[in-house]
């Protein structure tokens, strides 16, 4: 018997006590846990909570309005002293408008990993963000690029729109497509391996900055144009 059939046969023998007609759904899973997380819904609170939780784990967060994004991106990159940044395809042009063109690299053709190692940083969007845990989720979609781009450079600037923020882990997973490679990022890389105390900054980007776009409510009740 090959290993596959052997292992499966062993599993079935081991489960001799399980009735033949039992189906997986006959084993009850009680999902009374909260699907929405602790905080009440509503973007202003979620923005605050996300910012607080990201900051708590060593990321820096700046709330901006739609009008301020381009300037804030350029300012953050300059303040970082990054000589060049990679900006993946699909990153909104209006958000990188204030970046000096000679500082911007696209990943087309793909940058060799040695070059990524020398580059000053990366600027991306997100797929979704989880307020309760201070988590950014990237799914390699537009403006996010392949996974190596947000990993090898030492600086990651991430732009989040308020409406992308969900309260809880369950809400985020429901929005994500598992067929895409996903990366959940909660603060800059860190380790607890020395005396179980948290130290920020190991192999991934050691500096994580987040711009959260949150526009004040429109008194007329219609969405603002960005």
């Amino acid at each position: 018997m090959n290993a596959r059939d052997d292992v499966l046969a062993r599993v079935r023998r081991a489960l001799a006590d399980v009735p033949d007609d039992e189906r997986p759904q006959d084993v009850p899973v009680d999902r009374r846990y909260s699907a929405g997380g602790t905080p009440p819904a509503g973007p202003p609170d979620l923005v605050q909570l996300l910012a607080e939780r990201l900051t708590d784990y060593g990321a820096s967060v700046r709330p901006v309005t739609s009008d301020e994004v381009a300037a804030a991106v350029a300012q953050a990159v300059s303040a970082r002293g990054a000589h060049s940044v990679v900006v993946p395809r699909g990153f909104p042009p209006q958000w990188q408008a204030a970046l000096a063109a000679e500082r911007v690299l696209t990943d087309e053709p793909r940058l060799p990993v040695e070059q990524l190692d020398r580059i000053g940083g990366v600027v991306t969007t997100v797929a979704t963000a989880i307020a309760a845990t201070g988590t950014l989720v990237l799914d390699c979609g537009p403006g996010q690029g392949r996974r190596a781009l947000t990993l090898v450079p030492d600086y990651h600037l991430c732009v989040v729109r308020a409406e992308q923020i969900v309260a809880s882990v369950p809400e985020a997973l429901a929005r994500l497509a598992p067929v895409r490679p996903l990366t959940f990022i909660s603060g800059p890389s860190a380790t607890s391996d020395i005396e179980l105390d948290r130290v920020e900054g190991v192999h991934g980007p050691r500096t994580l900055q987040v711009l959260v776009i949150s526009d004040p409510p429109n008194p007329l009740g219609t969405p603002l144009e960005s």
Binding site: R13, R53, L173, P181, S186, I194, G201, V202
Partner: protein, 480 residues
């Protein structure tokens, strides 16, 4: 015997005794476990629905295990459909062989590794070395263990027995032998140590062509593998090489994508005491233009089906390797991880190891007794493994095994003698009279600190009370 790293370990009591003599070890452990207990309590306290999450986690694992065959087939289908290759390993030897063959087929002589309990368990690094393949551990604690030529002593933080000064010394001494040396004048500041690890490993990440990992979860419904980590070493290994080989125990399956919403809340809060660990990666087979172009999944049995066959013991397979039970265990905190003679130390190790490996060796037979049954482990377990229940169950199994052995143990002789004495009142009275006579001679301040012969096993670690100078029967006759 699946485990190669700890071959020939003495039974838990003698290993624990020598560990207790190591004051540095106990200080390091007490400091680290105290820190993490506080962090975990805080992270868990933030969630109002923690108990509901625990119950859901337990129930999902129960559902999975009771229908494991169907979920494994589903994993195979989905991973294959997504461009991955699935291999099955009956035991550690077969798993090692599969991985070595896969690495050799790439023509590479080195691999980078993500921290993985399964590959530790099967002794993969040693087997790769024997095949002429260098395996570089990239998790900081695993790196400390590897550079120090040491054994892991904790599930989450294998180098928990080392403090910062010891880590600095290991880095200074050994990093140069494996690649980029430690910077001159390296201090024992944790930031400086993390920086040294970053520099040492970066060249390895950038040139690596093959990576070996485990996985925290495998989603049957989608064929998605999940690695939960902190440092980014996992992302490096999962993203940069051309070939990824993941060795995953068959119990790591969860049925649906949605089920992750439970475990991704339970694991980080239980493990590092964080709301969420810095990085979680998920991948489904291979993706065009992103990450490894070849993905191999090795599904590992190695004693898991034996564990599954025991309806009480099988709950040990619920384990998501958070290590919360180690951090609250009074026995672990004092004895340390090495005394358990396995890559799985602490309370979970005491129930998992004897089931995975069987109870044939002295250390494996002693593990179910490496506990006070205080129950703290059960209380913190995020998937509600009733560790005390399984410990007691395994103790019974060890006793049943020894009943079948021909040469009686001193304990068995004592029990037979007790049965003879206790089965007749006049025998008991005679023994009690003899006992009080002995008590008048032997007992100093009501205690006996050394019993003769095989009975000395009892007084090695504790005093025996001296028998009273007058038996109850005698007192009753006098005062009636």
């Amino acid at each position: 015997m699946n485990d190669t790293t700890f071959l020939g370990m003495p039974a838990f009591p003698s290993a624990a005794k020598s560990a207790l003599d190591n004051a540095q070890l106990r200080r390091n452990l007490a400091h680290a476990t105290d820190t993490i207990r506080g962090k975990r309590a805080h992270a868990v306290g933030e969630l109002d629905d923690w108990e509901e999450l625990r119950e859901a986690g337990r129930a999902i694992k129960e559902r999975t295990l009771r229908h494991l065959d169907r979920y494994l087939i589903q994993v195979e289908e989905r991973v294959t459909a997504a461009g991955g290759h699935v291999h099955w390993a009956r035991d550690a030897e077969e798993a090692r062989r599969i991985v070595i063959d896969l690495v050799q087929a790439t023509g590479e002589r080195e691999v980078v590794k993500v921290k993985s309990m399964a590959t530790q368990e099967i002794g993969l690094n040693e087997a790769l070395a024997d095949a002429g393949i260098s395996a570089y551990e990239t998790d900081l604690a695993e790196l400390i263990v590897q550079l120090g030529q040491d054994h892991p002593s904790h599930i989450l933080v294998p180098a928990i027995h080392r403090n910062r000064a010891e880590i600095r010394d290991i880095f200074v001494r050994a990093m140069g032998d494996y690649g980029t040396a430690a910077p001159a004048g390296l201090s024992d500041d944790p930031h400086a140590l993390a920086e040294a690890a970053r520099r040492h490993l970066r060249e390895k990440f950038l040139r690596a062509k093959v990576a070996v990992s485990g996985a925290n979860f495998l989603v049957a419904e989608t064929g998605t593998a999940v690695v939960v980590e902190s440092e980014g070493n996992g992302r490096m290994c999962l993203t940069l090489p051309d070939t990824l080989i993941s060795v995953v125990g068959i119990e790591k399956v969860v049925p649906t994508w949605r089920d992750l919403e439970v475990f991704l809340q339970l694991l980080p809060r239980s493990s590092t005491g964080e709301r969420m660990n810095p990085y979680t990666s998920t991948w489904t087979g291979t993706a065009a233009d992103d990450g490894p172009s070849t993905f191999h999944l090795v599904l590992l049995d190695a004693g898991r089906t034996d564990t599954l066959a025991d309806p009480i013991g099988r709950q040990a397979l619920n384990c998501i390797r958070c290590s919360a039970c180690l951090n609250v265990c009074p026995v672990y905190e004092r004895a340390g991880g090495h005394a358990y003679g396995s890559v799985y130390p602490g309370p979970i190790g005491a129930i998992l190891t004897p089931q995975l490996r069987g109870t044939t060796s002295a250390v494996d037979r002693s593990l179910p007794y490496a506990s006070t049954l205080c129950g703290a482990c059960y209380e913190v377990c995020p998937v509600k493994i009733n560790i005390p229940e399984v410990l007691v169950h395994l103790r019974a199994r060890v006793v049943d095994d020894s009943r079948r052995r021909r040469i009686p143990t001193p304990e068995k002789l004592a029990m037979s003698a007790a049965r003879w004495v206790l089965s007749h009142p006049s025998r008991l009275a005679a023994v009690q009279r003899a006992g009080s006579a002995a008590g008048r001679l032997a007992g100093r301040r009501g205690r006996i600190s050394r019993l003769p012969g095989p009975l000395s096993a009892w007084t090695e670690t504790r005093d025996a009370p001296a028998p009273p100078t007058e038996t109850f029967r005698a007192w009753w006759r006098r005062n009636r």
